[in-house]
Structures are given as structure tokens and as C-alpha cells.
Amino acid sequence: MTLSQAVAYLARRNARFFFALLAYAFAITPLYFLRVVHSDVIVTSAIFFVVVLGLDLLYGCAGMLSFGHIGFFAVGAYSVAVLFTRFAISPLLGALAGTLITIALSYALGRVCLRLAPSYFMLGTLAFGIMTHSAITVWYSVTGGDGGLGGIPRPIIGCSLDTDLTFGAFAAACAIVLFWLTYSLSRSRIGRALRAIRGDAVAASCLGIHVDRLKTNTFVISACYASFGGSLFAMYNGAVHPDSFSLGTLLDLLLMMFFGGEGTLWGGLLGTTIIRQLPDIFGGLHGGQVLFEGIFFCLVIFVLPRGIAGAVEDAVKRLASPRTKAGVRAASNIPPIAARLQPEQAPLLQVENVARNFGGVRAIDGVSFAIHRGQIKGLIGPNGAGKSTLLNLISGVLAPDDGCILLYATELSRLRPDQIAKLGIQRTFQHERLFPHLSIEENIMVGEEHGADGSLSELLECALGSRRTLTAERAARAKTQAWLCDLQLEAYAGATTESVPQGLRKLVELARACAAQPFLLLLDESVAGLNDVEKQAVKGFIKKLHAAGLAFLIIEHDIDFVMELCEEICVISFGRTIADGPPADIRKNDAVIAAYLG
């Protein structure tokens, strides 16, 4: 590949990234030379952009809105300031120390707050943010209190960064590098996993995403952005003061993100620059500025919830000519599953005396059954009998109060859903749970990539876009294409989940589960709402998978469908097994008929 080809490839692959940077540079240059925008506005915009990147990674991707980043911003700034003024430690080391402190603090805060409901998460992080502000105000013997701390020098990296130009270049370089890393992270499997969590944490976890760890690590990384931004801020200004880390600044940060466009990353460039420019626009009219910000904020929330960048992206999407894909019909995708199974051992899954209560109601009351290798098992019963609950117990969404669930010799009842998914059990949901923030193709890719285990090394690898991850991504994309072909859904690849008809969404969910290459698939009413032709297609699909060695547990109300497909059927009523056997026996079983028809 020649250099120009490489550049062209990079430019095409990362069009949004380069487009945003170039457009920004082109727009800001004349404004700077005409003295409309001062250099400090541009430099501080770059600094705040770093913070907003972190916020946007957290909210735009993972859907967690943190009000605590103002605190981490302060930690970064004050680490530089305090360490320099008290111990004459160089600002860059100060920034490093700030990052370390932030990692510890954000990890602790994350562990506390991430398990809370969204509004309480916001409150908890807000409390942290305010407490940090209060602490630096009150602890004046170290932080200088309301007097602030001054005299922080600009760092020296090879050359001294003491002019606005050199420091500006340094800050811009930092911002661009972080922008690049965040951008490639958000496009990677991690980005997909985060958006999956934002849409539906339970489904995400059932696809093998280690939700807690991924959320915590993302929170920590995002906090580090804020801390590093704070360090840059302190170095640039040469001084810190509690008022720069107050609620007002938090509002600015939020406004930067939402006005720019949450979830787009590059929207932050617009947001930061405009908000930083506001004082110069309003001059002495501070009240006007606050009022304007309020109106602005309301407008963004109520009228333009995706911000400017979101609106631009939508417009571009509409304008861009729809390009037809080369009609490559990928080969069938179904891997030979039997080969991956340990032989000899049977049954595959064993459910023994499982029980589960909800409040005072015993929803599952001692159910036992077994699924053998490569078997299709049906699970039927009247409404409210506890079928879906049972599926939740097997997939780890709920923990049983009693009894045990064994996959070969592995006890599942104490494992998390993502661990169970990794062991080779996948499921679909009664009401489809596709990830609304991902396209159809990306939904399946989440399955194809086996979720994400959220470890730091995985995050790092994805952010750096290593050759391995890129190859893996290309492979996953190709395989996904094959799955879509198998189900004749290729026309919907890039579509949003909302635009796909209800019935087909269930198929996508099925494909998503299959893509994770399980050897046991739990289906919860997969054909409800499909017409006969579609049902036949699904039936054929299931048979093909079955032929490859995949085992099934199928909950279905369409009795014909169940009777035809299943080798064995287990019937439950009032949380108890009332029959278990081949379809022909079940049809004739009096208890079953009574349970259904009364």
C-alpha cells in the first residue's frame, strides 16, 4: 500500500474524525486572525474538549450521566497546583499524581454509585462534585481556599511551553490524541458494548458483556479525562481557584456536551468553543449570559436533544446518496457445534428442584428437567406458570432461591449472566430486547464478538485500534453479513432497530444470540407475532442449527410449532412440572389439557 493509499484508507475509515478536525480548523483560523476569538478561548476549548470527551464517552456511549466530573477536574488541577506550590514537583508529575488519585477516587465512587438507579447515580456523583469543591474551599491550609493558588509554571517537554502558541499546540495535540483514542474506542467492540448497556443492561449481560466491570472501568477512564483536563487547565492558567470548579462550571460542561451533541464526540468541539466564547459575546452582561445559558439549555433538552452535531449527522445521513452494496452472498455461517462439545458427558443442562419467590408469591416451586446434547426441548404451560422466570434463572438474570442448575458439572446458579453466556448458553427475550442505540448489524456484532469483558487491557487495545482488533472487527462484520443473509435480513443491515418491523426484530435477536456460537439456545416466544411464512423460515433455521449440534430450550405458545419441532416437552403450571415427555404423550396428558382448558 502506498502512502497516499494508506492516507486515503485512514481518511475514509475515520471520515468523521478528520472531517470534524479539519472543519474546525478552517472555521476557527479566520475567527482567530480577526480577533473575534481569542487564543485563550481556543486553548481552553481544547482543554475542556478533553473533559467533555470523557463525559461523552460515559453518557453518549454508556448512558451514565455523571455530575461528579467537576470533582475529578478539580482533583487534576489541584494536584498540579498543590504539588508544585508545596513541594515544587513538576506539573507533569503533578498531572500524573492527579490521575492516580482520580483513579482511586473514581473507582471507589464508581463502586458505590454505579449500582444505584440513574437518578441516584446522578445525585451521588453530584454530591462528590460538590464535596470536592467544598473540600478545596475549606482546606485552605493546603489548597489556599478562596484565595486560590498561583504561580504554577507551564511544563517543559523538550522545549518550554511558556508561550500561548507552544502551550496551545501541546494542549491541542493532547486533545487530538485523546479524541482519536476515544473515537476509535467508541467505534470498537467496546463502544458497541457500552451502547448495548445503555440500551438494555440485562440483555447486554446475557450476551457476555461484563456489565459491572465495563461500566466501572469506563467511569474510571472517563474520570481520568476530566482529571487530565484539570491538570492542563491549571498549567495553562498558572493558577487555580475553587470558583473554577463550582456548579457553574459543571453546568458549562453539561451544556458543552448536550449543545455540541451527546454521543457524537466531535460535538464537543463545537460545544466547548461556543460556551467558552460566551463571556466575550456577553461582555459585562453576566446576567444575560446566565439567562441565555438557561434558555439554551432548555432548548437543547426540549428541542434539540441530540445537539448540533447530532442534527448535522442526521442531515448528512439523509443527504448522502444511498450506496448499494456489492451483492456478495456470504456462505452459510453455521459452525459445527458438536465438534466443540466434550463428548460422553450428558445431560447437557440439568435443572434440579429449582425454586424462586417473588415477595410472597412462589413463582417457581421445585422444577426439574434435563436437556441433552443437541436436543430441542419445549417448555410450555399456561400464562403465568413461570416459564420466563425459569429462563431467567437458567440465564442468570435471576438467582434461584433453592435448587441447582448444572451445565455439565458447572453450577450456574451463582454465576453472573455474562459468565453463563461465555459458557455457551444464549437466550432471547419474550419482548425483544434489541439495543436501540445500535444498528441491526451492530446488534448482531455484539453477539459475534462475545460481548466484552471490560478489562482495562481490552479497553486499551480497542482504543489503540490494534491490528488484531481491526482484523477481528472485519471478520465479525463479514460473519454478521452472513447471519443476516441466512435470515434474509441483509436489507436491514444499517437500519436502526426502530425502523425494523416488530416481527423481524425477534429474528434479529435470534441471529444475535446465534452469532455468539452457543451450544444451548434458550428461546422465549421467538415466533410470536410472525406470520406463517416467517414462522416456517424460523423453523427451518432452527432445524439447520439443530443439525449442526445446537441444543434448544423453546418457550412457545404456538403449540403446533412446539409439537413439530421439539423432541421433548416439559409442561409447567403454577411453578411445578406437571408433565415431561415426547410431544405425543403431552397431547394426551390429562393434566396438561386440564391446565390449559380448565
Binding site: 440513574p118 437518578s119 464535596m131 448536550f258 446566565v290 438557561g294 426540549f302
Partner: protein, 292 residues
């Protein structure tokens, strides 16, 4: 002895602020599950409007109070309408969007307050100036009013929620909005009512606390936080929560002042937020509520 009683008095004073601000917050959250940050603005505006009427236009206290109640009810209702602009009966607004929109309104009200009343802090008109001595402690009369106000509002709310149709309907909406509408309850109207009521309580709180806390255009955020704090410590589902939680926090906070090496600033600013985080860690449902 006087030191001890003085700590109690200081604690009650701080607690009354928490309690008063928490009550309005709790009624809105109880009925609509919206974490209403704009609640702080209701207190701020109530205090400022009252100040302008009493000190500026020289309108008698009682009349000003009634006018202010009417105005704040309208403001609350308007807020509810704006916040639920994008929500549909079958698709309620998501919690983060709800918080963000009330935050946006908080900023908006802050800016408007700046434009009208300027940047300086101002002292609200006290219902009764002066102090008296009780067991050696100096007690401002305003404190008596604050405590009485908090207790009256709390009792009133309790009676309202337990023994009136609107109150019961409000509790029903909190539990299950869909079912409530099937019982014939107009869920939207109850939401508006809750915001109006919350705003009236908030404004009353603003009037009562502003002689102590003062008012500036940025006080709204502080007020909202104090309210949330009292509410969280007291626990959900109960009007008594903010009162108990508020007074408890206030007294604990002042008692810390007896320890050597503590300063007022530490207590005023760090301790409450620390308490909030501790609550979220160990007892997110609050002190009074049952563990669910």
C-alpha cells in the same frame, strides 16, 4: 450547659432549613418520581418576590404571602407542563432527561433572578427580628417561625396525603400511574397539582429561611441540594422523612462543632455531602423507609 443547648439551637436552625426545603421536594418526588432540581428555584423566587413585595413595594406581610403563594403555584404548574412536554402517557420521561430538564430550568430561573434582582445577596424580611434566651442559649425568633413552619407544613401534608382524595390520588400515582388512571384519576392533573403544591411549599420555605441563609441568584442550587439531602436522609415514601432527616442532620452537624479542630465551613459544606454519600452507600432508601 449553655454550650450544649446552644448546639441544639444551632442544630435546630440548620435542621429547619433542611426540613423546610426538603418538604416541597418530597411531595413532587412522591407524586411524579421526578428529582426536581428546579425546586430550589421555587424557594429562591419565593424569597425574592416576597422580599420585593415587603421591602420594595411595602405590601403587608400577610397579603404578600398570599400573593406569593398564588404566583408560586402558577410557577410550579408551568414547570410541570414544561418538564413533561415530551412525555406521553404510555412513555414517561426518562429519569436522566427529567433531571436534566429541571436542571435546565434551574439555570434559567437563576439567570432570570440575576436579571431582576442583581448579583448581590440580600436578606429576606424576617417575620420577627430579635432573639430570646432559652436555658442559656440564644434563640432567634425567626428560628421559632422556621420550626413551626416546618411542623405545620409537614402535618398539613400528612393530613393532605392521608385524608383527602387528591392526596390519596397522589400516592396512588406515585405507586402506579397506569393503574391510577384506570381508577379514574387524572394523572396529569395530579402531576401539575404536585408541582404547584411543591412550589408553594418551596416558596414558603424560601421566605422562612431567607432571613438566615440570605438570597442571591445562585442560592437555588444550594436550596435544591439541601432539600434533596433532607429528603434522602429521611427516606422515601414519607412526608415525615425530610423533617426527621433534616433536624437529625442539623443537630449532628452542629454537635460536631463541639469537637476541637472543626470549623463552621467544614460543617456547612463538607459534612452534608459526606452524609449524602454515606447514605447512598449504606442506606439508599433513607433512614425511615422500609428496606424493599
Amino acid at each position: 450547659m449553655p454550650e450544649f443547648t446552644q448546639v441544639i439551637v444551632a442544630g435546630l436552625s440548620q435542621g429547619a432549613i433542611y426540613a423546610l426545603l426538603g418538604l416541597g421536594f418530597s411531595i413532587v418526588f412522591l407524586a411524579t418520581r421526578i428529582l426536581n432540581l428546579a425546586q430550589g428555584s421555587f424557594a429562591l423566587w419565593g424569597g425574592f418576590v416576597f422580599l420585593s413585595m415587603v421591602a420594595g413595594a411595602k405590601i403587608p406581610l400577610a397579603i404578600s404571602f398570599v400573593i406569593m403563594l398564588i404566583l408560586s403555584a402558577a410557577l410550579g404548574a408551568l414547570t410541570q407542563l414544561i418538564v413533561s412536554l415530551r412525555s406521553k402517557p404510555w412513555r414517561p420521561i426518562s429519569p436522566d432527561m427529567a433531571v436534566l430538564s429541571t436542571l435546565a430550568l434551574l439555570v434559567f430561573f437563576e439567570g432570570a433572578a440575576f436579571m431582576i434582582w442583581g448579583p448581590d445577596p440580600q436578606r429576606g424580611p424576617a417575620l420577627e427580628n430579635g432573639v430570646f434566651r432559652l436555658f442559656g442559649a440564644i434563640v432567634p425568633w425567626q428560628l421559632v417561625w422556621m420550626i413551626v413552619g416546618a411542623l405545620i407544613i409537614a402535618t398539613g401534608l400528612q393530613v393532605f396525603l392521608r385524608s383527602t382524595w387528591s392526596g390519596r390520588a397522589m400516592r396512588a400515582c406515585a405507586q402506579n400511574p397506569m393503574m391510577s388512571s384506570l381508577l379514574g384519576i387524572n394523572v396529569r392533573r395530579i402531576g401539575v397539582l404536585a408541582f404547584a403544591l411543591g412550589a408553594m411549599i418551596g416558596a414558603t420555605a424560601g421566605i422562612l429561611v431567607s432571613p438566615i441563609t440570605w438570597l442571591d441568584y445562585q442560592s437555588g442550587g444550594t436550596f435544591a441540594l439541601n432539600g434533596i439531602l433532607a429528603y434522602l436522609i429521611g427516606g422515601e415514601e414519607d412526608v415525615a422523612g425530610p423533617v426527621v432527616g433534616g433536624f437529625l442532620l442539623g443537630i449532628v452537624q452542629s454537635a460536631l462543632l463541639l469537637l476541637p479542630g472543626t470549623s463552621g465551613g467544614l460543617l456547612e459544606q463538607v459534612v452534608p455531602m459526606l452524609a449524602l454519600i454515606i447514605m447512598l452507600v449504606f442506606r439508599p432508601q433513607g433512614l425511615l423507609a422500609r428496606r424493599i
